[in-house]
Symmetry: C5
Subunit: 155 residues, 5 copies
């Protein structure tokens, strides 16, 4: 079996190096090829992700962004998300969106911790999608959350 290749698409706009955190987490846990592609802003992520798949042969991509707190930032995030979904449908490959909104927490320090943790937990999701899909199936409906405590299943 040839080694799997993971694409990392991230931005210079984000205020935390989530791509770096994910790469660290991936490398610690698996033997993988990694291809990184940094673009200016989140609306550049859909085509960057598609290029990672088409031109660089990535099996799966992680797309990282940190939308600001303003209405216009939310709109940009919405547009980027729709583009990322479209890119997945055009390539039939997963592009795991890892967005951390600046207003999810109050202080910069918490935001950095959240971004780091979400990036790493989604890196774990990527590993499951690639190598252990049956683990995801066992967690179906279990109220998993990335970056925060799990909500857990309804009781």
């Amino acid at each position: 079996m040839t080694e799997k290749k993971v694409g990392i698409a991230d931005t210079t706009f984000a205020r935390y190096d989530m791509g770096g955190a994910a790469i660290d987490e991936l490398r610690k846990n698996a033997s993988l090829k990694i291809e990184r592609y940094t673009v200016p802003g989140m609306k550049d992520l859909p085509v960057a992700s598609k290029k990672l798949i088409e031109d660089k042969g990535c099996d799966i991509v992680m797309a990282f962004a940190m939308p600001g707190p303003e209405v216009i930032d939310k709109q940009c995030a919405h547009e980027a998300s729709l583009g990322i979904i479209a890119a997945q449908l055009l390539t039939s490959r997963h592009i795991i969106e890892v967005f951390v909104h600046e207003d999810e927490v109050e202080h910069d320090k918490e935001l950095a911790l959240l971004a780091d943790r979400r990036a790493r937990e989604h890196a774990q999701n990527v590993l499951k999608l690639l190598f252990k899909p049956q683990e995801l199936e066992r967690e179906a409906g279990m109220g998993k959350r990335e970056g925060f405590e799990d909500a857990g299943p309804l009781r």
Copy 2:
């Protein structure tokens, strides 16, 4: 006639195992092949559904999610829905969206009941689409609801 194959796409984010409920309902009522694919979140459902159709040969897919109560959750559900519609248009196959919003009812227990019932009633819809389309035609305009009491036709 070869046996029909139903795809079940669901998430680890949801807090109830709707996919499991639907599989139980399908198996009780028909002889079918079932292929399950669990992904982290609802925005991963469009491409998962497309892969179930293209790679696994599913004739129809059910896509399950449980969006949270926040504005951002509603936006994610909207994006996922648009992606699911696009995936249907690209494959010319039905992907029955089964979303239960956390704020549709007040208590966790009700939410679990709603999720279970909606999953099962949509499983019945899938069986009608596959085997008894004339039953759906007889119910056209009858105010059917999945998970809640039917609204019924206008009088």
Copy 3:
């Protein structure tokens, strides 16, 4: 000339049989083949319409739905509409959207009348698109409304 074929895509969610009304109106006024396809909800209409065109050879489709009054219903209608437009662009065929929102009028009886009238007036539009496009051209900019009184041209 081979007989034209009209597709009727409708839902079990709607509370009035608009598809039936349109079929009655079409049959009264023209010799046509009609193919009906009933699905559970309005988000199933885009692919149902595409299948009526691609698999059943329909020259034009009418897509009927009755969105409820809640915010989530409006969002579903928006998603369905975008899907119906996309289905038209992918097939280069008209899919005439006939949506009646539950909150357009106050009472059930009015709603039934509105639904019936809108379905029939759009059936007339379908006949014009198929057989008398010059009539539509004569009505360009005339403030036509389906289901309600015409607004008429500006004066």
Copy 4:
């Protein structure tokens, strides 16, 4: 050089014959073939425009509509606009959207004047796109407005 062909897609819903105004303006200023296609409402414009390009060989299309003042009208206009952009991307041809919202001015008479003027000024834009692109380039960033006074460049 073969004569250029302009498509005119308009609606019976609009309350002013903007298509007619544009045709008058085009004919006064150039020798062109014109193909007109009138549909019921604005959501029928994307596929009508695509058909004008694909089936009738139009080099460019103008798409006219007059959305009403209600929230639902704004949503329909949004859906139609997205469809018109998609139709352009699928054909690689311009479809110049000429929408006049009923609530842009207060009185019917002003609305008719605005509609007439916007239709004619966009017809001039079409002529520039077809025959004098360098004129548009000279006006880049000049704060041009169609139907109202130009905003002009920032000072």
Copy 5:
């Protein structure tokens, strides 16, 4: 290596010649071919950008617009943005969106300065994407902003 070609798509609606500023910045810093295409409004930018890539062979495009302060302007910007993302996915090329909203600052003079600076800083991004991708990678997660002071990384 053949010389790279940058497309400049801009509008007559904008109130500042951002395309001109970007061209100046590009020429000062690199040897490039430049192709300019001015259209009336921002919703004409997606297909213009696609034509610059497909018909003119541009390797990358910059798309400039200056949306007004009204709700309808925001909606147009949203539609244009979605179209620009779609055009990128269809061509697998970057189209760098450079939008300056009229209400980002208070006075015309500031707006002109912002527009000029954002155009130039995004021209620098284009040069990095074309010639120095490793510089962007070094700036990943560094809180870069175009036109305003950088936010910088979280601490």
